[in-house]
Amino acid sequence: MKNRLRQKIEYCGLDYKSEIKKLIFINLLFSVLTAIVYLLTREHNYCIYLILFDLIVDYLFLSNYGAKAKAIDEERENEFVTAISYFEIFIENRNNVYQSFNKVIQYTSEWMKEAISSLLVDIDKDKSVQPFVNFAKKFKIKIATNIMLSIYSMVDQGESFEQIKQFQLIFNELLKSKQLENVEKKKRSLSILASLPLVGAALITILLTIGVISIIGDLVNVI
């Protein structure tokens, strides 16, 4: 379990030791706070609430890495689609596979630059399909392997019209599904907005109910 947590933290580009120090610091802070509250109030209940709150904070802190890792995977997927769409433009315009990937590098993030540079270095050393498969494995989408294999077939059999057409067929499927996914993602993101005023209305109702009940309580006491 410790190794899995370490892998997740390092995958997010963070330092494992710093993150553990942050977690220890948070728990120490809560422990000190609990001790102070107990010394001042001598109430067990408050201490239990603070401990529970600390456990919730710990859970949220640790589960945050999973969400970050997922966001990184999604960003890399989008980068792959973008990079290959630029590759498509270059390959259609008198560039071979190597030259096209070289030109794509200037449009990518640091991580993608390293991945493509590493692919180009591997292609120089190994003329088999392996460098392409290794590059595809960096992305979680399954179709990445199909796309890289069709690109390899361009290297192996020349960048003929048929090879390019085959590559475009596979890539266009991915492009279409990504575009639909982006539209759905935006719709989902905006749909949350409708729930915020409902939460506001619920808050108003709850606070109003508490206010009315406390007034009635006061009146009953007076009677």
């Binding site: 630029y86 449009y107 575009q179 606070l207």
Partner: protein
């Protein structure tokens, strides 16, 4: 436009807060903070977003018109002149301010204005066409498709944003109207409730939540990724 909207919202918040709390100071604070938020933050981010979208649409028009003109006229200077006809004064002034007469250099210079990956790719294609010839429409087919798809996506996103904001505004108007109606619905009872400190703080809390939700809405509306534009 955003500032005007912010002014209307802050006045509405002030009125509803005053009706529901009878407290001028807290109502003025609610209205004031809302107006400050719109003046300092919301106006700026929405202006940046609109500028980004307008610039991209100008870029799309420019690239589209340029490529079609280049395929018809066969020379860059003619294509540039035609493409500039659809542009705003800012772009035209930028081009006219350049000392060079070379149309390709002018097209390359616009990379400082159209800071999108698509424009950089367009410049690469035009440069390649200048050096090696070929059918520019065929060469730029994929690029044009991608720019067109991005443009369609932006149009869809803007439409979805507008619908969401309208829905969001109407729902908040209903929610806050509950507070305003309280005074009239509870009548004598309201006089006792409004003296309760917990009730006063709760109303302020509700407005704080409303402002937070406006902030979340603005963050979602401006979240548009166009490759190359930071």
């Amino acid at each position: 436009m955003t500032l005007l909207f912010g002014l209307i919202v802050s006045i509405a918040f002030f009125i509803v807060a005053f009706i529901s709390t009878n407290n001028l100071i807290s109502s003025a604070a609610v209205g004031g903070v809302t107006l400050l938020y719109f003046a300092i933050y919301a106006t700026r981010v929405l202006k940046n977003k609109n500028e980004k979208i307008t610039r991209f649409q100008d870029c799309y028009q420019f690239v589209n018109n340029f490529l079609i003109s280049l395929s018809i006229k066969g020379h860059i200077s003619g294509a540039l002149a035609t493409a500039l006809e659809s542009q705003n004064e800012e772009t035209i002034d930028l081009i006219n301010s350049l000392e060079t007469d070379d149309p390709l250099e002018k097209v390359k210079y616009l990379k400082n204005y159209f800071k999108f990956d698509m424009y950089y790719l367009f410049v690469d294609l035009v440069t390649l066409h200048t050096e090696e010839g070929g059918d520019i429409i065929k060469m730029s087919n994929n690029l044009l498709n991608q720019i067109r798809q991005n443009e369609e996506f932006l149009v869809n996103v803007e439409r979805m944003n507008k619908n969401s904001i309208v829905e969001f505004t109407i729902l908040w108007a209903f929610a806050l109207s509950i507070l305003a109606i309280l005074k009239f619905a509870l009548s004598d009872f309201f006089v006792h409730i409004v003296k309760n400190n917990f009730y006063q703080m709760s109303v302020i809390f509700v407005f704080a939540f409303a402002l937070l939700s406006i902030h979340i809405a603005i963050r979602k509306v401006v979240d548009i990724d166009i490759k190359g534009w930071d």
